[in-house]
């Protein structure tokens, strides 16, 4: 056992930015390995949005008025941006539960006792969730195409715009995982983080333009929906996909939805990353 005490060189702290990136990637890799070993979590994460696509498009499809039309094809094309956006927000619960679980198991204590970058544990987790979100979106897009979703004609959209829409979705999803990180650090158990991560998402995603045309809502509700950050991303996707049912509201986020979506996402990241990292520093399991 004498080798236990053999000196091992500990490199002096390097450039803090590169250390932060490196540590985040080490933690992200760890979380991706975990996810690959719990495939049922990834699969459940996929089933839920697929179920939403099928239920909404077949159950509601015939009775929804979109842009003056009640055709179920129009509703399906309208709906898909909403489902995509709702799906990326569900990553919130995963991030929160993962971090709460790490706290519960004492892993956060271990990480905090290591000479690593302070935000890396959380950044690593959110990056791993981003990879999972991307995978989910890919599968969901295929399912959407199978049930008949199509983007608009060539004149209105193109490959770059479609990719841009998915980029906005990923950015929004990434922003929401930071809210999840803060929730995960604030609750006692992974179970609480899961439900705490999901409950508030229902009003956020339903008081929006995701599933219905918000112009039919009562005025006060419509205002909330128009300024809801979530609506901005949905509207931006519809614009970029050239799908029907785009909001004609003169609220700024609806008129400039792409910019609004970017600004909202960046703001959420800045605010919740700061809060979450601060919480992490004092968090104890």
């Amino acid at each position: 056992m004498s080798a236990v005490t053999d000196a091992v060189q500990i490199t002096a702290p390097s450039n803090p930015v590169s250390q932060s990136i490196r540590d985040s990637l080490v933690v992200a890799k760890r979380n991706l390995i975990r996810m690959s070993r719990i495939p049922e979590m990834v699969i459940f994460g996929l089933i839920q949005p697929i179920m939403f696509v099928v239920l909404f498009s077949y159950v509601f499809g015939g009775s929804m008025m979109i842009g003056g039309s009640t055709s179920s094809t129009d509703y399906r094309n309208f709906l898909m941006a909403g489902i995509f956006a709702q799906t990326v927000t569900f990553a919130t619960a995963g991030a929160g539960a993962g971090i709460a679980d790490d706290m519960h198991k004492g892993l956060i204590d271990r990480f905090r006792s290591l000479p690593m970058a302070r935000g890396a544990v959380l950044t690593g987790r959110t990056l791993a969730d981003l990879v999972q979100t991307a995978l989910t979106l890919l599968v969901l897009a295929v399912v959407a195409l199978l049930v008949g979703w199509r983007v608009g004609s060539d004149g209105d959209t193109n490959a770059a715009k479609v990719l841009g829409a998915f980029g906005l979705l990923l950015l929004a999803g990434y922003a929401f995982t930071w809210i999840g990180a803060l929730i995960g650090l604030s609750v006692r158990t992974p179970e609480a983080a899961t439900s705490g991560g999901l409950i508030w998402l229902f009003p956020v995603t339903f008081i929006s333009n995701a599933f219905v045309d918000s112009s039919n809502m009562t005025p006060w509700l419509r205002h909330i929906a128009d300024w809801n950050p979530f609506s901005a991303t949905v509207q931006a996707c519809r614009v970029l996909f050239a799908n029907p049912g785009q909001s004609t509201s003169d609220a700024w986020p609806m008129q400039h939805s792409v910019w609004a979506s970017v600004i909202y996402s960046v703001l959420i990241i800045l605010i919740f990353r700061t809060l979450a990292v601060r919480k992490y520093r004092s968090a104890t399991a």
Binding site: M1, S2, A3, V4, T5, D6, A7, V8, Q9, I10, T11, P13, S14, Q19, R22, D23, V26, V27, K29, R30, I33, R34, R37, I38, K105, G106, L107, D109, R110, F111, R112, S113, L114, P115, M116, A120, L185, S186, R188, K279, S282, A283, T284, A285
Partner: protein, 336 residues
């Protein structure tokens, strides 16, 4: 010159509870300090303050020559912590766990891999290296956790109740590992509720209760403080107890305690084995049949009882003041 672990007047409160109420510690380099106390005594809080996980309200702490409050990151590079729960990722293999910790200690990926292999071999985990930690037994997880704390061979180690929840065989195994580690020159602070463990592993012992160090010294010094040796007799027949008590009174240096239901009599004595032989002869002469007799030196259990007026394990259940840093404390700390 202060020791490898030095603390002066550490205070930490959670709400109304003073988890640490002015703790002083000084652990010379290369020695083992046992922090002994029941749940809620403040042991874990002390370890958390010294390993930068918690910031004390006041006081001073120097670990491995570095001021804990001023340069926490430098402290983190010099200490290893093995917490109360085996903090390993159960979905990662043993090897992946150690590699990750190595890389987060800022080792290069390749160096971390080599180091992981060495540790897996040393901790007898090589066969299980590529299995997920989920499949490990409690003892194996503990060993993996300890290996993770030793990735950079830190000069100073903290172990918070390292053998809690282990069966006797695994406990013995872990003790051997710890002894090897210390013989290599590592300074170790170890918390434990097991008096036997502190007696076995630690050079010096600090007894803590209610956030204060209430006694310190070597195991022998603490035992001597409690009083000397005593004779314990268990008589076979209940009706002999009175006569036996009379006999013991003749030899004893103090009051004889009598436990009716176990038929056990205890009396403090001086004179050692020679006196014990005399007691046996006298009891025999009087025709008292005995089930057991012995000369007992005080255990740390006795030490604890005489210092605190209660038995160490007594407060384990039903005490609102769980060990700071877990249970009921969690919320308060996290809510800061």
């Amino acid at each position: 010159m202060p020791g490898a672990i030095y603390a002066e007047g550490l205070v930490k409160t959670f709400g109304d509870v003073r988890a640490l109420d002015g703790v002083d510690l000084d652990v010379p380099e290369g020695t083992v300090l046992g922090l002994l106390g029941p749940n809620g005594a403040g042991k874990t809080t002390a370890v958390r303050c010294l390993t930068t996980l918690l910031r004390p309200d006041s006081g001073k702490a120097v670990v491995a020559g570095v001021d804990v409050l001023k340069h926490p990151d430098a402290v983190r590079r010099r200490v290893g912590l093995s917490g109360q729960f085996a903090a390993v990722d159960e979905y990662l293999t043993g090897r992946e766990n150690l590699q990750m910790v190595g890389q987060l200690y800022q080792m290069k990926a390749k160096a971390a891999k080599i180091r992981a292999d060495v540790l897996l071999e040393q901790f007898n985990l090589a066969d299980a290296a590529d299995r997920t930690a989920k499949t490990y037994s409690g003892g194996m997880r503990r060993r993996l956790d300890l290996a993770a704390a030793l990735v950079v061979s830190p000069p100073v180690m903290f172990m918070d109740e390292p053998t809690t929840g282990l069966d006797p065989r695994n406990r013995q195994q872990l003790w051997d590992v710890i002894k090897d580690l210390v013989s290599g020159g590592t300074t170790l602070l170890l918390t434990t509720q097991y008096l036997e463990e502190a007696d076995h592993l630690a050079h010096d012992i600090c007894v803590v209760d209610h956030g204060r160090v209430i006694a310190r010294g070597t195991a022998d010094q603490l035992k001597a403080q409690t009083g000397g040796e005593r004779v314990e007799v268990v008589v076979h027949e209940r009706e002999h107890m009175e006569t036996a008590s009379e006999v013991l009174r003749g030899f004893g240096k103090g009051e004889t305690t009598v436990e009716e239901h176990t038929r056990k009599l205890t009396v403090p004595v001086t004179g050692g084995a020679k006196l014990l032989a005399e007691v046996i002869r006298e009891l025999d002469t009087r025709g008292i049949e005995i089930d057991d007799i012995g000369l007992r030196r005080p255990t740390l259990d006795d030490v604890f009882l005489s210092l605190t007026g209660h038995v160490a394990e007594e407060r384990e259940e039903g005490n609102g003041v769980a060990d700071a840093g877990k249970g009921s404390k969690r919320k308060k700390e996290a809510g800061k």
